[in-house]
């Protein structure tokens, strides 16, 4: 299954203030894009629009699987999302959260796979503790396990290394590398180290792509 992301003339306006406009993108399997720009430039908003959580004020964004457009209502099944403002349930343990979202998606993910994911993000020891007892870095690592549960073909990472220690950052960079081999990776960041790891950059301040074209 090959995936393609297409965005045409995206614009977003909040209370008559235009955050961005005229963004067009085309990404294919094996490609990665970093969205950068100063605070308030709309990096997170753009990622939310791509994920389908937010509607654009103008333009459209859609996924294609094997050259067939994926209905907007089911595009969430093909993507994973990690961001500081995405929250899991504090009153459940790490493993309970992952099992819950697996069931909500209607997937049958075996327990050993979930445990291996938790092991990978270095949370195996604390997997049965309630998320409310986790540090912010541990919560961020759990979000990676959540995002990778269904092997998404499109991975969206907003501030991918925020709250992480060096070990966590190394794991995230490895996840980013693997994602490019099996699908599309889009990150929103201003971190110079993160920016090096994608093959395209979309600067929302100038809307000009660096390191290659970010337009179709």
């Amino acid at each position: 299954m090959s995936i393609q992301l297409q965005a045409e003339g995206l614009a977003k306006t909040f209370n008559r203030r235009t955050i961005f406009s005229g963004i067009s993108l085309s990404l294919r399997e094996g490609e990665s894009l970093a969205v950068t720009g100063r605070n308030g430039s709309g990096k997170s908003t753009l990622l939310k629009i791509i994920s389908g959580v937010l509607s654009p004020s103008r333009g459209r964004c859609f996924l294609k699987i094997d050259d067939r457009e994926v209905p907007a209502a089911s595009s969430y099944t093909h993507l994973g999302f990690v961001s500081p403002y995405l929250q899991l349930y504090d009153e459940f343990s790490g493993i309970e959260n992952l099992e819950l979202f697996t069931r909500i998606r209607g997937h049958q993910v075996p327990r050993p796979f979930i445990e291996a994911l938790l092991e990978r993000v270095n949370l195996a020891q604390r997997s049965r503790d309630q998320v409310r007892t986790y540090s912010s870095g541990m919560k961020q690592r759990l979000k990676y396990a959540f995002a990778l549960l269904h092997n998404p073909q499109l991975l969206l990472l907003d501030e991918p290394t925020s709250n992480l220690d060096s070990e966590g950052m190394a794991t995230v960079y490895q996840i980013m590398e693997e994602q490019v081999t099996r699908g599309i990776l889009i990150i929103a960041t201003n971190d110079a180290e993160d920016l090096k790891r994608t093959d395209r950059v979309l600067d929302l301040n100038s809307l000009a792509a660096e390191k290659g074209a970010a337009t179709p």
Binding site: L54, Y89, F92, F101, I104, R105
Partner: protein
């Protein structure tokens, strides 16, 4: 089991487990019922109040306790920042039906407690026809839960959640409240079951209309 139904049941079970651990709605609902009943008991004293008035008072307690507790189903997701997590994992309708199921079960349990306490402590309130009374409570509960669920989803996006909920709910719930009060009055007066059929028809129609509108509207409410 279809994926929509399975996801809805999973969200319902999640809400139930979450509620049992956090007591997010349960405590406020229980406290409201107990304090309101106490105030009514004190204010009635030895007065001989008619069953008409007592039927209305019962539904006033149920209405306001619903207002104090059921909005939490969506507000808690909004406050905890888990709305986006649900948006990324579930179809909007699965969330709606999961929440509707949870609100119905919560309200049914609350109404069972309220009615039991009401029958125990308000001695003037004597039900003559239990068929009408139980049917009214059942239909009233599902109607109230379905309207409260979509209203809770709407007000969860607003800044003034606390005040907006009862204000927005009142005109929408008024036809339901008038009908259940009338049907409850009939059960207390000992009317025959066939006499309450028109009330039951209104309650069933109300539930169907509200659930259909919610089905059509929810995706828009949930996304923006």
């Amino acid at each position: 089991m279809s994926s929509l139904w399975y996801a809805s049941v999973t969200i319902f079970v999640k809400d139930l487990r979450s509620e049992l651990r956090t007591r997010y709605s349960l405590n406020s609902l229980l406290m409201f019922v107990i304090t309101t009943l106490s105030v009514i008991l004190f204010s009635l004293g030895s007065e001989n109040v008619s069953s008409d008035v007592l039927s209305g008072v019962l539904w006033i307690i149920i209405f306001f306790s619903t207002m104090s507790g059921l909005s939490r189903s969506f507000v808690s997701e909004e406050e905890r920042g888990t709305v986006m997590t649900l948006q990324l994992t579930a179809r909007p309708l699965a969330v709606f039906f999961g929440k509707l199921l949870f609100n119905t079960v919560l309200l049914a349990a609350l109404n069972l407690l309220t009615v039991t306490l009401y029958l125990l402590f308000i001695t003037n309130f004597v039900v003559q026809n239990y068929t009408i009374f139980i049917t009214t409570m059942g239909l009233g509960t599902i109607g109230l839960a379905s309207a409260s669920t979509i209203l809770a989803a709407i007000i969860a996006k607003a800044n003034t959640k606390g005040t907006l909920y009862p204000v927005l709910s009142f005109p929408i719930l008024l036809p339901l409240l008038l009908t259940v009060i009338n049907a409850t009055k009939m059960s207390v007066e000992g009317a025959a079951v066939y006499e309450a059929f028109s009330e039951f028809q209104i309650l069933i129609s109300y539930f169907i209309v509200i659930t259909t509108i919610s089905y059509l509207l929810f995706e828009f409410v949930w996304k923006e």
